[in-house]
Subunit: 681 residues, 2 copies
């Protein structure tokens, strides 16, 4: 190994371990490319972009069986000095395009120099995102026009792309073509082009052009919910989220929930266009907001990914959603779509591409597909139940062998609607509740205030957010579970009138009884009807999950993930106490946060992920609860608190479950609670 | 042959001669398809479209060696009776989808039932156009949505297209998708879709959808000239031209000729956008006009082809033409482009596709490419010179082995500009001239009047069109040639002052002499300067052609075609007398009319023709006259009348050429003239 011919040297790249021999003087970047080592570059070896940095790890020589000469590379070049002066170069780093192999060497490619670098996700159980952007930048030097060999500017750009980057079969949008001549002349025949690499080779397109060198492009991951629209803006070359923001969905004025919006369209001809207009206007407001937050030129936003439930999906695309309002719930399309931003009037680069994830079924939308992409149950062995709770619960169950999905009509109770004191999660809403099993006295926490209601300063802080205004979804789950644990509620969901003798919190309310949670203005009480609404909602959720378990022929699941705003704010042990979710060890139940938004981000940053989810969505078994007789049966059985047949291993370590008719105290301040304490955005 | 098993029968199709055996009861359409016989159908065998008609030619049986049974087909069906009652069926015709094979049969496929039918061109020397439309209609019956197997409407449309027509890998434009649900339900799951078959399989797209059966779609062939814009509207299934119209190019207000328009852009920032706007507005006026003329719904116009010179090409696409105004005359692109109609704001179906032919070089545009497509010199053995005369003459020379193109700066003299009495070809302009070689008295004809100036009724008719207003390009050619033939003009192009003694038509005009052609108001005279302008123009034209001949190393050409408005209105023998064109037998010189428009029509009707011209344009050798020193030399040599080195075989049969200083009479009323007499539109 050490007796090389002088004109030939060994190079070893870490961490890949790829190695090969190259003539003395070969630039390291070139050696890397011939070995298929993943090194980034926008300028193509012209010492402009600085993306191809490598570290020279001399200490590694021996380990790799290479004689440990001090330096087997050329010295730091003038070009690198210039780059260092202008943009800074970390100690020990070199530009691999300027570094020449003079003898055997070990070269380390740091993560940030890799094209396919990993974007590390915060959650421990989540897989990292591999960067594989669909749109990439290429700096090229284009031949000047020559009367002796007349050819179009565009054709000379294609020639440069082919010769300098090996990219051929490229097309160009007309709008980009109209910018090209000026860019070429302004950049003195040096331009940067953005190429959108469609999944089909013949669909590669130049979608933007800049004079000279340009290395900033951004993308948006957009999750259109019925209530809120959220957007993350990512730097497309690092994957980093540079700004995140959310706004209320302006369609709310046409109806709070999906079905009332579909009804609006049925009642008002042209209502679909109004709502399309509303959501697009909202999206643009959001785009302005994130672009401003990150100080990004909207013309540098070249990519967007959109997810949403089927009704939102249809409305943003300008498709009438009425068919989704009734059986057979036919989607206009269940395939992914790639569009120009201008086709849906988005205020970004006009030739930006927008990728819309596929819907799974008429009730299981592109948001559910994004959740699947984020959580990846199709790559797991465990039977995994993923629930995204909204007006409909979208439920996915399975593993790498089989994946099923359905939607279950939970209704809006979990979102605070149809509950006497219910409200959307917003400052002032009760979100946490504990009931003393001895005195039956409650204490609670409201959104926007750190203190519990029985702690000092609560009253003052509460006033600052406008007082206690109502109770939101997670608060309702907790109060019902605590009522059950305190014996106020029995297994059938009846508020026990006998308890009125023990506490004036339990009050007769016509022929039934209520529990008075807060005596302020407004008074917040939990009525028998409130309990029934939640029972119906949780039974629907449970029945949907159980139906999928039937199809998979399993009795319990290995793992549960609760996704979405509601899912990530409820305390999972209370969900178990109420019997919302099927049998599963408590420590295998996770909150995934906005998994749909994460899925959108993955699709934004990774082109292969798009093909992946398109395939998975095709492969998922779609179960329609409306046509499954067993759904009704499961539904009825799931009304009890907790579910009659569930055993919930290790739930009793977290709470003291009551013996029938026996009132015991609940562990309401254990580690589990502290660990899961989180603030709403 | 006559002892067939009864369950099997022989079918022979004429005129293709394709034959095969099929089970008794096989529909004739199905047999045709399996044999690859070219039979049209939109409805896919449902007896709706009537495109699949065949003729049963019993007399043909014996000839094809088939026993002559009276009828080996099923009887006329109820379905055919219904079709006949509703839409009419010629005697002897059957719908091949309803006709079953009961025994051996000979089936004739009439031309109009063929998909690839020929569109017969009027000119004898032109090849017919084979119909091969890029956009075709397909009637499909789509599965209704089923909750048990949820899939999108669009995906069920794809399924139907695949199952019923064998078409897969289809995409759909968003705008079409937004129409789909309604069309499916209105058509009760029977719809017609228009599929644009791009040249790449992955680019097949549904671009329009109609409820139920729809079989009318149209296309536009558009030729954007600097002065006029012409459009032909064709029925895309028959190829028939259903309406033709033309308008003035509204850009004229920015400058009469191309270079003055380019200057306008140089002088006025944003001038390119103004002119883009102007030409698009003009195009839309024209589209309204032809659609109204043919009573066609603009939404049924699904295809357009645009040709034009490079400046028009750039401006209609919204590309700044300034680069074309100076060396190196760089095109923004020299490739063909396919666009959405909406990308250039055309008032047709919004998802209609527009195909723009490729430009050949900075001065040789998509119009020249269309001329090549129309005339097809690349398929010939003869050396063919094709000249499209305008402000620039676009010149193509060659054959199947090699084809060259250049542009020559003739200036606007041929269009009547820079000529003292010159004007555009319009009513009142002198277009034909004869000069009596004895008396030197002229007679002439003006556009819009049948009579010659010396015939009865001329004065009255001329008054009706506003009198004699000037002289147009073809008139100038004729008057100069006749002046030469009458001895008024010598070989050097000098108006011979000595002739003033013979006729007062020859007048001193300062230091030179003029010929007074018309004594009306305005007076039309041919000045020495007018002669010089035409000499410069014809010398440029000749020099361009000669340059290409040099490159091909030939001394004379086998055939000449003059294309364009000017080219088809001049009398070719006078072009020869003046020495505008190189050596060629007179009977091998043709006028092709608007060959660019015809080329556009070919590209409109035949998808393969697009690929053909794209390849040919790449392959053409582009010669830039500005950088060829020999061009100047040819130019100087070509100033003489006629060209000194040309021999023009059989020209002397058409005209009596003067011996130097000898005045002879010209044959001015021969058959050649009568045959070529044509009216301007």
């Amino acid at each position: 190994m050490t007796t090389n011919e002088p004109q030939d040297a060994l190079i070893v790249f870490t961490p890949s371990g790829k190695r090969g021999r190259f003539p003395i003087g070969t630039p390291v970047l070139q050696a890397a490319r011939s070995l298929g080592v993943d090194i980034d570059s926008v300028c193509g070896g012209r010492a402009i972009c600085g993306r191809c940095q490598v570290a020279v790890s001399e200490g590694e020589f021996a380990k790799h069986g290479i004689s440990s000469h001090a330096s087997h590379l050329n010295g730091f070049t003038k070009v690198e000095e210039r780059y260092d002066a202008k943009r800074g170069l970390q100690a020990g780093r070199r530009l691999s395009c300027q570094t020449q192999l003079l003898g055997d060497a070990v070269i380390d490619v740091p993560p940030e120099s890799q094209v396919h670098k990993q974007v590390v996700r915060k959650r421990a159980e989540a897989r990292d995102i591999e960067l594989d952007p669909v749109t990439r930048l290429y700096y090229i030097v284009v031949d000047e026009p020559d009367m002796h060999h007349p050819s179009g500017d565009l054709e000379r750009v294609y020639k440069a792309l082919k010769e300098q980057w090996g990219i051929d079969e490229v097309y160009t949008d007309l709008r980009t073509l109209t910018q090209l001549q000026r860019a070429l002349r302004k950049g003195e025949w040096r331009i940067t082009v953005a190429v959108h690499h469609g999944h089909i080779r013949s669909r590669q397109r130049i979608i933007a052009v800049w004079p000279g060198f340009h290395d900033r492009i951004f993308g948006l991951a957009i999750d259109i919910g019925s209530t809120t629209i959220a957007a993350h803006m990512c730097n497309m070359s690092t994957g980093e989220v540079v700004a995140s923001s959310g706004i209320m969905n302006p369609q709310i004025r046409f109806g709070e929930d999906l079905m009332s919006r579909v009804s609006y369209v049925m009642m008002n001809p042209g209502g679909d266009e109004e709502m399309t207009q509303a959501v697009r206007t909202g999206l643009n407001a959001l785009i302005f907001q994130v672009a401003e937050e990150a100080a990004v030129d909207r013309n540098d936003i070249l990519e967007a990914v959109i997810v949403g439930n089927p009704v939102m999906h249809h409305l943003v695309l300008g498709i009438d959603p009425v068919e989704l309002g009734g059986a057979p719930f036919a989607l206009a399309t269940n395939a992914a779509k790639t569009l120009w931003a201008t086709e849906i009037d988005l205020a970004m680069h006009p030739d930006a591409r927008v990728y819309v994830l596929p819907c799974i079924a008429g009730h299981v939308g592109a948001d559910a597909a994004a959740v699947v992409l984020s959580e990846s149950p199709h790559l797991q062995d465990e039977h995994w139940l993923i629930v995204d709770v909204g007006t409909n619960a979208e439920i996915v169950l399975g593993n790498r062998d089989r994946l099923l999905a359905c939607s279950s009509p939970t209704g809006p109770a979990f979102e605070g609607a149809q509950i006497s004191g219910g409200q959307r999660a917003a400052p002032g809403a009760i979100e946490r509740v504990r009931i003393d099993p001895e005195t039956l006295e409650p204490r609670y926490r409201i959104i926007g205030v750190e203190e519990w209601s029985d702690e000092d300063g609560f009253a003052e802080q509460a006033k600052a957010v406008g007082g206690v205004t109502g109770i939101c979804g997670s608060g309702i789950i907790e109060v019902l579970a605590e009522m059950y644990l305190a014996g106020i509620l029995n297994q059938d969901g009846v508020v026990d009138g006998a308890m009125a003798a023990r506490s004036d919190r339990v009050e007769a309310d016509g022929r039934t009884f209520s529990y008075v949670l807060s005596r302020g203005e407004p008074e917040i009480r939990i009525t028998q009807n409130d309990v029934r609404q939640i029972q119906l909602a949780k039974a629907a959720l449970y029945a949907g999950a159980k139906l999928l378990m039937d199809h998979l022929e399993i009795d319990k699941v290995d793992k549960i993930t609760l996704a979405g705003a509601f899912g990530s704010h409820i305390d999972v042990k209370y969900a178990m106490v109420l019997g919302m979710i099927p049998d599963c060890p408590l420590d295998k139940v996770y909150a995934a946060g906005n998994a749909a938004g994460t899925g959108a981000r993955i699709a934004l940053l990774n082109n292969k992920a798009r093909r992946e989810i398109e395939k998975v969505v095709q492969w998922i078994d779609k179960i329609e609860t409306a046509v499954e007789p067993k759904f009704q049966q499961h539904f009825v059985e799931a009304m009890a608190i907790p579910h009659k047949t569930a055993s919930y291993p290790n739930l009793s370590e977290a709470v003291t479950l009551p013996e029938p008719k026996d009132v015991a105290s609940a562990d309401s301040s254990g580690d589990g609670e502290t660990r899961r304490r989180r603030r709403r955005r």
